[in-house]
Structure formats: structure tokens, C-alpha cells
């Protein structure tokens, strides 16, 4: 009986430990400021750990003092000791600690407008997706993409941020701090990622019904691979199409998709929605909303508003399943 009682008492503790452990896994992964993959995020992670360590030390010291004075040395203290505690512990110590943290913190703060190594990327927040323009050094016109950021590892890239209608916030936690995006005003961010990999970005300022669905993937690539990718990205859409894709291209034209979407090298030059010239090469659909399976494409085309409430794009639910599949094949093939 006592044993089982003890076991019952131990169970909630074990349970809470078991529940808490997976939370720590949240510190790892593609969208964590505590798993930095770039210079700027590393500074922030360092700042966080220093502050956390200091806070733990202070927490233990304060509680230790409290314990000492209430449990170990319980008699009244002399006026001298009390004065030392108040002046020293209450005024001098916080002043010194906070001043030191402030000076140190300001000194390591990343410079959002730090000059880059040549590449500039303009990102415009839309409801609810990301309009992306790559401006390599000396370029006279941009390479246009959407809903995905690619960055060369080991190089510093300047980001110019703005917004079309409402305030958004651009944040890739693994690569740096966040920066708000305002309609009619440019803000800047400068990032130097160091580790190639795929990270996740998320709008960090409430911007409407589908704010939570406004994400993207950031791919940090080896510089040579990035240059090859950008050169390929700049060209027109591919024209070698399967039969299904060719039918899909006809549906794209017939349904007027080109009113809003550009596919370079075709008659479709609309600029309301994301550029689809190479949509098939992206790793998410609908700004991080879905994966890139054929089913995902079909779902996006026919149930747009269900997947992303209040989105501007109308759902093409009048298409037959065969038509939606052909259209999905066409878009998915635009690599």
C-alpha cells in the first residue's frame, strides 16, 4: 500500500518531466533562435544565454539570501548590515550590472544596415505572402521570385523590406533578428548566414486573418550553388511540357490565371500574385502553407480560401478533377 502510494505520487512528476522534455526539442530545428545558423543569430543567441545565466545566478543568490536570513540567521540584523544590503544590493549592484549589460549589449548589437558583399534582396510583405526580388551586384533589373529566400553562405546579404498594405514583420529566427515591414517605408536587415541548410521564416506581426499562414523557407546555399541557382532562376520558364502539362497550360490561359501571375516567357504578365515562373522549384506552396505534392497543388487551386482565409486568390473549385490535375501538373513542372 505505501509503495503504490509513493508510486502514485511520483507519477505526476515523471509525467510532467516527460511532457517538458519534448519542449526542449523546440529549441532545435529550422525555426529556432537558439540554434543559430548565421553570424547575426549567433550574437542574439549569445546575448540570450548570457542574460539567462546571469538571471539564474541572481535568482539563486536572492533566494539564498532570503533563506539564510529567514532560516539560518533569524535574529535581527544590525543597522550597518541592513544599510549595506540596501545601498549595496539595492542601488550599487543593479546599477553596475545593468550598465555593464547595456554597454555590452549595445556593443554587440547587429547593424541592420551593415553593407553586404554585393547581393541585395527586396522583400515586400503582401497579404499573406512574400514578394521577392534578387538584385545581384550591378544588376539593372531584378530576378523575381516569391515565398522563398535563398542566401549564399558565408556572404553578407542586404535585405530591403517594405509592405504593400499592412504592417508585417520579417523573421528567420535561425539567421537573425526580426524587422518590421511598413507600407510606404523601407526598413533594412543585413544577414550573414554561415551554415548551409533550410530554415523557416514566419511573419512576426499580426497582419490579418491568415497571418499564421504567412511563412516561407530560407535556403542557405554554398556560394557557387547559389550563383548557379540565381542564373537559372533569371531565365524564362521551361517549355518542354508533358501532355498533361500542356493541357494544364491551356487551362491556365483559359481561366485567366495570367491576370495575376507572371510566367516569364509566356503571355502571362500579371503582377497581383506571386511570380510562378519557377514555382515548381520551390519547397512550399502558398507561402509555407502546404507541401509540394500533386495533391497539395490541386488542393491549393481548388480550395484556396479554405486553406488561407480571406486570401485574394479566388478558389477555382469549378474546375473538374482532371482539369485541376492537369493544371497542377503544369505548375509543378515549372522548375
Amino acid at each position: 500500500m505505501p509503495r503504490s502510494k509513493a508510486r502514485a505520487a511520483a507519477r505526476p512528476k515523471a509525467l510532467s518531466a516527460a511532457l517538458t522534455l519534448p519542449l526542449l526539442a523546440g529549441c532545435e530545428g529550422a525555426q529556432s533562435a537558439l540554434a543559430p545558423a548565421g553570424e547575426d543569430a549567433a550574437v542574439l543567441a549569445t546575448l540570450f544565454w548570457v542574460m539567462l545565466s546571469g538571471a539564474v545566478v541572481l535568482f539563486l543568490a536572492m533566494n539564498g539570501l532570503f533563506f539564510y536570513l529567514t532560516r539560518i540567521r533569524v535574529q535581527a540584523q544590525s543597522e550597518t548590515v541592513a544599510r549595506w544590503l540596501i545601498v549595496g544590493g539595492g542601488i550599487v549592484l543593479p546599477f553596475v550590472v545593468i550598465s555593464a549589460l547595456l554597454v555590452w549589449g549595445l556593443s554587440i548589437l547587429p547593424d541592420h544596415r551593415q553593407a553586404g558583399d554585393g547581393l541585395r534582396i527586396r522583400v515586400t510583405g503582401e497579404q499573406w505572402w512574400w514578394r521577392v526580388e534578387y538584385w545581384p551586384e550591378g544588376a539593372t533589373e531584378p530576378v523575381i521570385s516569391a515565398n522563398e529566400i535563398r542566401l549564399p553562405a558565408g556572404q553578407r546579404t542586404e535585405l530591403i523590406l517594405d509592405s504593400a498594405h499592412v504592417i508585417h514583420s520579417f523573421w528567420i529566427p535561425a539567421l537573425g533578428g526580426k524587422m518590421d515591414m511598413f507600407p510606404g517605408r523601407e526598413t533594412f536587415l543585413s544577414l550573414r548566414p554561415t551554415q548551409p541548410g533550410t530554415y523557416r521564416g514566419q511573419c512576426a506581426e499580426f497582419c490579418g486573418a491568415s497571418h499564421a499562414w504567412m511563412a516561407f523557407e530560407a535556403h542557405v546555399m554554398a556560394p557557387e550553388a547559389f550563383d548557379d541557382w540565381l542564373a537559372a532562376q533569371a531565365g524564362p520558364a521551361q517549355t518542354a511540357l508533358s501532355d498533361a502539362a500542356r493541357r494544364g497550360a491551356g487551362i491556365f490561359t483559359r481561366e485567366g490565371c495570367g491576370a495575376c501571375h507572371t510566367i516569364r516567357g509566356t503571355e502571362h504578365i500579371g503582377v497581383v500574385g506571386p511570380d510562378l515562373t519557377r514555382v515548381g522549384s520551390r519547397t512550399t506552396l502558398g507561402a509555407g502553407r502546404l507541401g509540394v505534392s500533386l495533391d497539395a497543388y490541386r488542393a491549393w487551386i481548388t480550395h484556396t480560401g479554405d486553406l488561407k482565409p480571406e486570401v485574394e486568390m479566388p478558389a477555382y473549385d469549378h474546375l473538374s478533377e482532371a482539369e485541376a490535375t492537369d493544371l497542377a501538373q503544369y505548375l509543378r513542372g515549372l522548375e
Partner: protein
């Protein structure tokens, strides 16, 4: 104090019983032949006058009331909807009309005491308990200006369409043609559009899905079984239309807006047909609009943008962010384009 309250309560009870009896036992004589007592007539009419004055819209909302196309459209509607009670200028009211209570004034008398904006309010809203109906389609106050334009035209002594003659036209094809063959501006060219599209629109007007007081009135005179045949005839109608202001010069702003759009405005030509040199647009999602009358296009874009015309999620989304200036530019540009060659 208590006695006063009891007396008041007793009087209120008696009043309620008396009023209830009038309703329950039909004690009030509703005969139109009996008419109103003079004092009652005065109260009702004064209330009506003041209510109209208070609510009449600003003249800033009015289009150019001298526009002959607007006057002609208003006359066409007047001949079928208003003339049976108010008569045509120079014509007598029917004996039945004058026996109504209140008596509908002859049209020249009716317009004499009102400003154009007050006429607009009366035609749009009608007046309760008078027999004067409101406009058949809600939110279509824009159409009412056509009737006001006609009423302003007959106020002056100059030439105005002969609504007495228009009222004689009852055969459906001839009736539709009174506007669609002879009037441009806010009346669309039907020869640009295929018969099945026209039929769908006629059915939408008839059912009220596409709100228009003028077209709902017109369609209420067409038998449902005749709509398909009539649509085919209308599609073949040779019409008068607005010739482009200056076909030689093309507005670059309009061209760019129509063919490329902006970040808020989709490219119209993606659905409504590509470059005029590239031929027709087989199977595109939208109807042909190149060469359509500018005033009609502008009116319809307004209705799409404001959510009054609905039924196409694509067009609702496309028009949502248009500015007045963009609507003006697009309407003019499309009106200037040569119609698609297959029409």
C-alpha cells in the same frame, strides 16, 4: 395621485379597446371613393413633402442629365413603368388613374414642384400607401438618374423622346430594340456578345440575380419560354454605338492597365481577350468587352467593385481594388478597341 393614475389607466384601457375594435371589426372605411378628410390629407401630404426634402441625395452624385443617351434610356423605362399612371406629356391620364387615392399627378404637374435630386429620391424609394412603387432593384440608385434625366428633358420645352409612341411598342424584339438598337452610352452593345451569354444575363435579370430596375422591368414583360429565342435575335442586332473619341491615338496608361494591370489590379485582357491584333479569345473566362460602350463599362465596373453585381468570384476579386480613375481609364481604353474579329 392614486386617483389620477387609475383614471389614466382606465382611459388607456378604453382607448385600446376602441382601437382594437376598429381593427378587429373593420369599422374604418378604407373606400377610395370616400377619400381622406381634408385635415388628414394635409397631414399626409405635408409629411410626404418634408420627408422627401430631408432625404433627397446630393446633386454631386448625379451624372450629366443632359446626356441624350441617358434621356433616351430614361424615356424607354418611363414608357413602360411610369406612363400607365402619370401619362405622357401632352397626353391625358386614364380615368382609372385619376380615380386613385391619392390621385397620381399628371407628369407635367408631378415634376413641377420638385428638384432633380428630390425626383431621384421619389423614383428610387416610392411612397408608402400612395401606390407609388419604389425602384425594383435595391442599390441601383445609379439607374434612377436616367428617369430623372428624361423628366428634366420634358420639364424644358425642347425636344424630348416621345414616350407615348414608345409605349405602343409591345412586341418583345421591337421593345428591346427601342433601347438596344438606338441608344448607346449606358446601354450595352449586344452584337459583341454571344447568344448564350445574353440568355444567361436575361435570366439573371429576370430572377433578380443581376440587379437592375430597368432590365428587371423589361424582362418582366418577356415570357420565360421566349428568352432563348429572343437572346439569339438580340445577339444579331445591328446597333448604334459610341464611336471612339479618337481611334488614332491610344492611351498608353489604359493599355498598360488593361494588359498588365498593377499589383492590385489583375490584367483585364487575361480573361477578356488578348491584344486586339492577336485575334479573338477562344474559351476565355470573361465576355468580350472590346468596343463596348464606355459609359456602360464604367457603370458595370462600379457595380462589380461595390459588390452590387455578383455571381463571378473572379470578377468580384478583379474589380475590388479599382479606383474611380482606373475605372474611367479602362472603360475608355476598351471602348476604343476594335471588337474581336469573330463578332
Amino acid at each position: 395621485m392614486k386617483a389620477v393614475l387609475i383614471t389614466l389607466a382606465a382611459l388607456a384601457g378604453l382607448g385600446a379597446v376602441a382601437g382594437g375594435s376598429v381593427v378587429a371589426f373593420g369599422l374604418y372605411n378604407v373606400s377610395a371613393q370616400a377619400g381622406h378628410l381634408p385635415a388628414v390629407g394635409w397631414v399626409l401630404h405635408t409629411t410626404f413633402r418634408n420627408s422627401v426634402s430631408l432625404r433627397a441625395p446630393s446633386m454631386a452624385d448625379a451624372p450629366d442629365l443632359d446626356d441624350p443617351d441617358l434621356v433616351a434610356l430614361g424615356a424607354g423605362h418611363y414608357a413602360t413603368a411610369c406612363l400607365p399612371c402619370h401619362a405622357a406629356p401632352g397626353q391625358q391620364r386614364t380615368a382609372t388613374s385619376t380615380a386613385m387615392v391619392p390621385e397620381p399627378p399628371h407628369i407635367s404637374e408631378a415634376i413641377a414642384h420638385w428638384e432633380p435630386n428630390e425626383l431621384h429620391w421619389i423614383v428610387e424609394n416610392g411612397a408608402k400607401m400612395t401606390g407609388m412603387p419604389g425602384w425594383p432593384a435595391r442599390q441601383r440608385g445609379d439607374e434612377v438618374w436616367a428617369v430623372v434625366a428624361y423628366l428634366e428633358a420634358i420639364r424644358e420645352t425642347g425636344p424630348a423622346p416621345d414616350t407615348a409612341a414608345l409605349a405602343e411598342v409591345t412586341e418583345p424584339r421591337a421593345y428591346c430594340a427601342t433601347c438596344h438598337e438606338n441608344v448607346a452610352g449606358p446601354v450595352p452593345r449586344l452584337d459583341l456578345l454571344p447568344a448564350d451569354y445574353l440568355e444567361a444575363q436575361m435570366r439573371a435579370y429576370a430572377s433578380g440575380l443581376r440587379p437592375s430596375g430597368i432590365m428587371e422591368q423589361a424582362m418582366s414583360r418577356v415570357d420565360g419560354d421566349d428568352i432563348a429565342a429572343l437572346a439569339a435575335e438580340m445577339a444579331a442586332l445591328r446597333v448604334r454605338y459610341d464611336s471612339p473619341a479618337d481611334p488614332g491615338t491610344e492611351d498608353e496608361t489604359g493599355r498598360t492597365l488593361a494588359m498588365r494591370g498593377t499589383r492590385d489590379v489583375p490584367a483585364c485582357t487575361a480573361c477578356h481577350g488578348p491584344d486586339r491584333d492577336a485575334g479573338p479569345a477562344p474559351g476565355r473566362a470573361g465576355p468580350a468587352i472590346r468596343g463596348q460602350n464606355a459609359a456602360y463599362l464604367a457603370q458595370q465596373l462600379d457595380l462589380w467593385r461595390d459588390g452590387i453585381r455578383t455571381g463571378s468570384p473572379l470578377m468580384e476579386a478583379a474589380a475590388r481594388d479599382l479606383t474611380d480613375a482606373q475605372i474611367d481609364t479602362l472603360s475608355r481604353w476598351f471602348a476604343q478597341q476594335a471588337p474581336a474579329p469573330d463578332n
